[in-house]
């Protein structure tokens, strides 16, 4: 699948001339392929990952471009076969985009209290802010950003995506909070009314559903990785370091490879 409609044919021709691995290398860097990877990672990771705002931004622009192409061609009598190929390409890309956004919303729905209260997030954002203004910016691990920094954003779409996810998360949390308060909390004795704590004597927030980070995931590394600390299994084994060969499938505890997934060294399947 090609990322831009006007390059479909060019790439198809290249396929004939280029050796297979070179062609694959070329294909693997297209935005659609990147989106596919982001989507797969997001689908398999138990927690919400960093929002790929740059990528989504580019993909949205390309989709618009493709839609225009299809529309232009459908008015004059273009070849119906190639038109349907464009349409299919477009549909598949749209599916990826929709599914990616959907998976993220569903994670937000599931863990909204946890996402809202995670302090690390808000503090991390201020650090990322500098990166963002330099134009490098993919930030917003949870796509909840204080609105002030969004105004520095150049891209309108990104602003919309970021802001609306931010508001969605805030409002949904408020809605659900209100819902449980009305139904349960307001009718319990005074010391037991917190959403986050079981009772006033709890020291930590112990009522918040959190993503389970110790579930197992299927993953594959792109390069040779060594020194992975296993976070599960018997205590004696944990000191042993684990290594990963490139291209080999592993079934491993998500917690152990969390950092490597975030840095993009490991792909989830």
């Amino acid at each position: 699948m090609a990322s831009k409609s006007n390059t479909v044919e060019e790439e198809e021709e290249e396929e004939l001339t280029l050796p297979t691995d070179e062609y694959e290398a070329l294909i693997s860097t297209t935005d659609v392929e990147l989106l596919k990877r982001a989507w797969r990672n997001e689908k398999s990771a138990p927690e919400i990952l960093r929002f790929e705002s740059d990528l989504i931004n580019r993909v949205t622009e390309q989709i618009q471009l493709m839609e225009e192409t299809v529309e232009e061609n459908s008015t004059d009598d273009a070849d119906p076969l190639s038109l349907s190929l464009y349409q299919m390409d477009l549909d598949r890309t749209l599916f990826l985009l929709r599914s990616y956004l959907r998976v993220r919303i569903q994670k937000i729905e599931k863990y909204m209290f946890h996402i809202r209260k995670t302090e690390e997030l808000w503090t991390r954002l201020s650090k990322e802010e500098k990166k963002f203004t330099r134009g490098k910016g993919y930030l917003l691990q949870f796509s909840v950003a204080p609105p002030k920094m969004c105004f520095q954003c150049k891209h309108k779409i990104m602003l919309v995506v970021v802001l609306s996810l931010f508001f969605l998360c805030c409002r949904c949390t408020d809605d659900l909070k209100k819902h449980v308060e009305e139904n349960v909390l307001s009718r319990l004795p005074e010391n037991y009314q917190s959403v986050l704590k079981q009772s006033v004597i709890s020291e930590e927030d112990d009522m918040v559903p959190e993503p389970q980070l110790d579930t197992f995931v299927l993953c594959r590394s792109k390069e040779y990785l060594t020194g992975i600390q296993l976070e599960d299994g018997p205590v004696d084994d944990r000191s042993k370091l684990f290594e990963m060969e490139p291209g080999v499938l592993y079934f491993i505890c998500y917690k152990s490879i969390k950092a490597l997934v975030e840095s993009g060294k490991i792909d989830l399947l």
């Binding site: 599916f95 919303i105 319990l188």
Partner: protein, 199 residues
């Protein structure tokens, strides 16, 4: 036994089929609340008794302290059960939005409590405003597309004059078979008005 009713409430929810929402059991729900108030009364009276005896509630480890502790723990457990009940039902209610769409059929709506209906509508409005700001409809395209067009059969009289995305109108009489764009057909399929013909 303390905490049994809360447990029953949750068992009822978890033993129902996956994705299937049972009727809101307000009867049992109220009984758990009654149990909570009872625990709270007993807890307070035990603490008052300890204070009258001049004991420090935090440090004195006599029978009354442990009694109070049991009431406290039972109350907390009941709170967890009630919260889990409401929270997981809310979870189910939200997933209905994805599976069925923004309009619920009558037989499902009856199973929701009044406040759940309100919550459903609110959440649906939130998602709608999110999607319209993105200009992407996320409720279509639930399965990976194989072909942009699919063959469908109309199961119920949908009526005439429905405008499809290519600005043409179609007459969806009952039992008629059409060849439609998948994105056009999907919303009708999820509402049970059309079925996809395969093979």
């Amino acid at each position: 036994m303390y905490g049994r009713k809360g447990c029953q409430l949750l068992k009822e929810l978890s033993s129902s089929e996956k994705g299937h929402l049972p009727q809101f059991n307000s009867d049992l729900f109220e009984q758990v609340f009654a149990e909570c108030s009872q625990h709270h009364l007993e807890l307070q009276s035990l603490i008052r008794k300890m204070q009258e005896e001049g004991l420090d509630v935090q440090t004195a480890k006599n029978a009354d302290h442990h009694g109070a502790l049991i009431h406290h723990l039972a109350l907390v457990r009941n709170k967890r059960c009630l919260m889990a009940y409401v929270y997981n039902r809310a979870d189910n209610v939200r997933s209905l939005l994805w599976k069925i769409g923004h309009v619920l059929p009558k037989e499902i709506e009856e199973k929701l409590s009044h406040s759940e209906e309100v919550y459903f509508k609110k959440h649906s409005a939130r998602l709608k405003s999110y999607m319209s700001s993105l200009q992407v409809d996320l409720t279509v395209d639930m399965v990976p597309p194989k072909d942009p067009y699919i063959k469908i059969r109309v199961l119920d009289d949908i009526g005439e004059g429905i405008v499809l995305s290519d600005d043409k109108t179609a007459n969806f009489a009952r039992h008629s078979i059409h060849f439609l764009k998948r994105t056009d057909a999907e919303q009708f399929i999820s509402r049970g008005l059309m079925e996809e013909l395969t093979g």
